[in-house]
């Protein structure tokens, strides 16, 4: 059963300028999906639409089969949410903020909350305003998960954290996956975190869905073909080849991303364009991201 479905979601902040354009994808129970895209690509907007904080302009969103704008309480009580710009009331202590959450969520799991507090070495009496950024994010994560939500929406959860705090956040997430199992949609600019956590990658680019593939498939059946300049291939002829997702002009020639294994991409470039010796390789997520979303030179 799908936990979240986005159906042809459009959203514009100004008339005529779509922040999201016709985005369709779903998340199944137990899936961990990494949401990628440049700043301003529409990641946060998507997550906020799933939370019911924003409405879709056109199209529809269902979370647990419900419209989050129609049934906000029913939906939100089953979601855990952490975002980079989340602000916890600085004058409250950790114990007080936990009290509030315990009161809000009937499913609150005190044992889990205490276990995480211990894991994070946080004392209950510390004031939220006195915590480091990493500690504050840990408290936010604790509050997001201790009511045992069926869905975690994490909007750039590791943003602004130092490498140690980021790693700790990642390890806690993996700990939770191991102990609880969870359905997670998380956006991140840290490609290594996505590579460690996500089974599936969704990439939005300029408001449109560019990629929606299992991570392993991106690495095995997608490649970057580097075609030296001066042999007749052009951006247009490359783009016309099926499976071509994008082309960039670089100083050493053209770089084309193909939804094909390297050997097939190389063979297709040779067959269609008569270009021999295209250097086709599978690449890590960061390089793939830059090839797809990076600028032309």
């Amino acid at each position: 059963m799908s936990i979240v479905t986005f159906n042809n979601v459009c959203r514009a902040y100004e008339a005529g300028i779509d922040v999201l354009h016709d985005v369709t994808f779903g998340i199944e129970r137990g899936e961990v999906v990494g949401l990628l895209g440049k700043n301003g690509a529409g990641k946060t907007t998507l997550i906020r639409i799933a939370m019911g904080m924003l409405a879709a302009g056109k199209g529809s969103v269902e979370v647990f089969g419900l419209d989050p704008r129609v049934s906000p309480v029913a939906v939100k009580s089953r979601i855990g949410y952490v975002s980079e710009d989340q602000i916890l009331p600085p004058f409250l202590s950790i114990a007080e903020v936990l009290d509030i959450h315990r009161g809000l969520f009937p499913t609150w799991d005190e044992e889990m909350a205490m276990g995480l507090l211990k894991r994070f070495s946080l004392g209950p009496h510390a004031k939220l305003g006195k915590l480091s950024k990493g500690q504050a994010r840990q408290v936010a994560l604790l509050c997001a998960v201790a009511h045992r939500p069926e869905l975690l929406l994490l909007d750039e959860p590791a943003g602004g954290l130092d490498p140690a705090a980021r790693r700790e956040f990642l390890e806690t997430s993996i700990h939770l996956l191991n102990e609880e199992g969870a359905t997670i949609l998380f956006s991140s600019h840290y490609m290594t975190d996505v590579e460690r956590m996500a089974e599936r990658v969704v990439m939005v680019h300029e408001g449109s869905l560019l990629i929606d593939r299992p991570l392993d498939d991106l690495r095995e059946n997608h490649c970057v073909a580097r075609i030296p300049s001066g042999n007749g291939a052009t951006t247009e002829t490359l783009r016309a080849i099926e499976g071509c997702l994008g082309v960039r002009t670089r100083s050493d020639g053209l770089h084309a991303v193909f939804a094909l294994a390297p050997a097939s991409a190389g063979a297709l470039v040779a067959e269609r364009l008569g270009v021999q010796g295209a250097d086709c390789r599978t690449v890590g997520l960061e390089e793939m991201f830059i090839e797809l979303a990076g600028g032309q030179s």
């Binding site: 390890e171 993996i174 191991n178 290594t192 956590m197 996500a198 089974e199 991570l215 392993d216």
Partner: protein, 143 residues
């Protein structure tokens, strides 16, 4: 058992795991009956999604390299001497393949490649250059 993954490489993590377990089995570091770490502990240790470990283990199981017993850790399966040899040959071929590609790109003939390889093999045997070092490192990795 030493397993290292590079989540950033173009090779999927589950495949990196499979390759390393296969290598350890072929080299004898892992012997039939040896237990593999649980999905949970390996996932925590490597900092990767437990599903990735499960995927690698399922494929290894399907290939007959490991055996699953209900409620017990996964163990390395028994192999005949012939199979063990075949696996070692496969491992060797796999690691030599890129060398052959490079040699061809550099324009060496097959004979020259074979000669070079033989010269290097002799070199490590005869106590010239780095052999002591290689030998002891070799032994350590088998213990």
């Amino acid at each position: 058992m030493l397993i290292v993954v590079d989540p950033h490489s173009g090779v999927p993590v589950y495949r990196q795991l499979m390759d390393q377990v296969k290598f350890h089995v072929a080299s004898g570091l892992l012997k039939p009956g040896d237990e593999l770490p649980s999905t949970r502990s390996l996932s925590a240790e490597l900092g990767v999604n437990p599903m990735t470990i499960s995927k690698a283990y399922s494929f290894l199981e399907r290939e007959g390299l490991v055996e699953r017993r209900p409620g017990r850790p996964l163990v390395v399966g028994g192999v005949s001497d012939d199979d063990a040899r075949t696996r070692r040959v496969e491992q060797l071929e796999e690691s030599l393949a890129p060398t052959i590609t490079v040699a061809r790109q550099l324009g060496f003939s097959d004979d020259e490649v074979v000669d070079t390889l033989r010269r290097m093999l002799d070199g490590t045997k005869a106590g010239e250059g780095s052999d002591d070092h290689t030998d002891s490192a070799d032994k350590e990795s088998h213990e």
